[in-house]
Amino acid sequence: MNGFMRNMLAMIELEMRRLRHDRTELYTRAIQPILWIAVFGPIMGSVRAIPTGGIPYTDYITPGALIQSTTFVSIFYGLTIVWERESGILKKLLTSPASRYSIVVGRAMASGVRAIFQALIVIPVALLIGVKFTPNIIHFILALMIIFISSGGFAATSILIASFMKTRERFMGIGQALTMPLFFTSNALYPIAIMPWIMQCIAHFNPMSYIVDAVRSLMITGDLTSLPIDLAAILAFDAVMFIIASASFKRIIE
């Protein structure tokens, strides 16, 4: 366990050092969520077509737009693994004392670092636009932790995809094909209750719904009744993805 934590921290540190040298990706990836909050939110909000439980529509979709962007960051994190496979880095890591499981989980959790910094760029912009966050620092920290942890699950999903799609081009394709459906079949832009029946079923199996709900209740509504269920779902998602990704990791290296 000691070595496990050590590897994970080393991977997280690696990611932070990378970001220190080059933050371009964070800025470019921030454009999309900011457009959702600054343009889509106010315009859709003026129609008042979507029941949001009394909160302004822009505020309602802010967590969704935020999670969408951090999830995209995590899903495309698999590209790093594909790159490391093409280079010799993965081979070298395999000959280090780090266990395979700790390489997978460590790499996956390192993507959480990117996700957090992504959130820290989007949130101030949302504040400027006028989104009202619950003025509670503990809620805020908890929300960031949820973003961090859930990013690990999505990054593990992306490692899993990387183990099947061994080239960058293929990976890009499947990454695109996965991210938008995840977004639209979640409660990011509208409540699950108003979805067609079949989409409701999908939304209940979509981990993004639980993440958005958790962050929304912490940052916007302050109503924490569903938080335990959300947390359980997120942790289960992480655990399952870590196990499957570790198991299929062998495929990447052979």
Partner: protein, 329 residues
């Protein structure tokens, strides 16, 4: 390090290794030579615990590479053929991350990293992004990563591929200095004949997943059929008595007579030459010129692997391309 009957079959079809036996003494430099697709990299990946053999066993300092892989990983370092450093952080940071993965205590970290950079001649570039390094510097940084943990065995897969001659020399000089200081074992794959010849104590030749032959560079070259001493004599008839005498010397395999010239095939030219010259002198034959022709490792390679090494050279430029592509990415 030893291996018995290693077999590796990929996806039930491709037989990369077909019963490889191996023995490497501790503290030696061991070179593995072979043409494209011979199984060199597969063998190295098994020995470094990355992949499991289909059958057979291998041991490193008594630890089984499959069953005790965690213990083996503590003793070894590995430099893969492909580039294996992060280009978007500095050289120092690369070593720092590896130091942390290997659990080097914080109090020793900085000194060990600075030593490794110093040893590889990278101190003044320590804080530059690896992206700005030249190919030779990247290779030296990779070696620095591998030497950081002071491994007992260093595995190098084509350590100087795609480098210019001076960069190759620089890498090797620093590797040999490390080996000398820490009495480490070096196991490397290469297709540069001169490199195997210059730096290794023992060479094994692998072809189509099988070990074809092994031995010291000298003994391998001799096994091709001996060395040739050519002697040019003064313009006078060579007397048969002298030729008989030379033929009778120990270590002489054959004698070919030309006009004013004798070509003598011997086991070991350096040792036979004085004796031959003595015999000629005893028979009053004046020697004008003497030269030694030795078979090179390319001849050895041709004989045992069945192809010239140039056949594999297409692959060098390919790997160089891959390396530069990865750097850009």
């Amino acid at each position: 390090m030893s291996a018995r009957g290693l077999v590796k079959v990929y996806e039930g079809k491709v037989k990369a290794l077909d019963g490889v036996n191996l023995n490497v003494e501790s503290g030696k430099v061991f070179a593995l030579l072979g043409p494209n697709g011979a199984g060199k990299t597969t063998l190295m990946r098994i020995l470094t615990t990355q992949i499991k053999p289909t059958s057979g066993e291998a041991y490193i300092f008594g630890f089984n590479v499959t069953r005790d892989s965690a213990k083996v990983r503590r003793l070894i370092s590995y430099v893969p053929q492909e580039m294996s450093v992060w280009t978007d952080i500095s050289g120092y940071e690369n070593l720092l991350i590896y130091a942390k993965i290997y659990g080097i205590p914080p109090s020793e970290r900085d000194k060990l990293i600075r030593d490794a950079l110093e040893n590889m001649g990278l101190s003044e570039f320590a804080n530059n992004l690896v992206r700005t390094y030249s190919g030779g510097m990247i290779r030296r940084l990779e070696c620095a990563c591998a030497l950081l943990t002071k491994p007992k065995i260093l595995f190098l897969d084509e350590p100087t591929i795609g480098l210019d001659p001076s960069a190759r020399k620089a890498v090797w000089e620093r590797l040999m200095a490390f080996k000398k200081e820490y009495d480490a074992t070096i196991f490397f794959n290469t297709h540069y004949m001169d490199e195997a010849d210059l730096y290794s104590d023992e060479i094994a030749i692998i072809n189509r997943g099988r070990m074809v032959t092994s031995g010291t560079p000298e003994s391998l070259k001799r096994s091709v059929g001996g060395e040739i001493i050519s002697i040019e004599v003064e313009d006078q008839s060579l007397n048969p008595k002298a030729l008989e005498m030379i033929r009778g010397l120990s270590g002489v395999n054959d004698l070919i007579l030309g006009e004013n010239e004798i070509n003598i095939v011997v086991q070991d030219a350096e040792h036979s030459l004085p004796k031959i010259i003595e015999s000629l002198r005893a028979n009053n034959i004046l020697v004008r010129k003497a030269s030694i022709t030795k078979p090179n490792l390319d001849d050895v390679f041709l004989r045992y692997a069945g192809v010239r090494l140039e056949a594999a050279s297409g692959r060098i430029s390919e790997v160089r391309q891959v390396r530069s592509m990865i750097r850009r990415g």
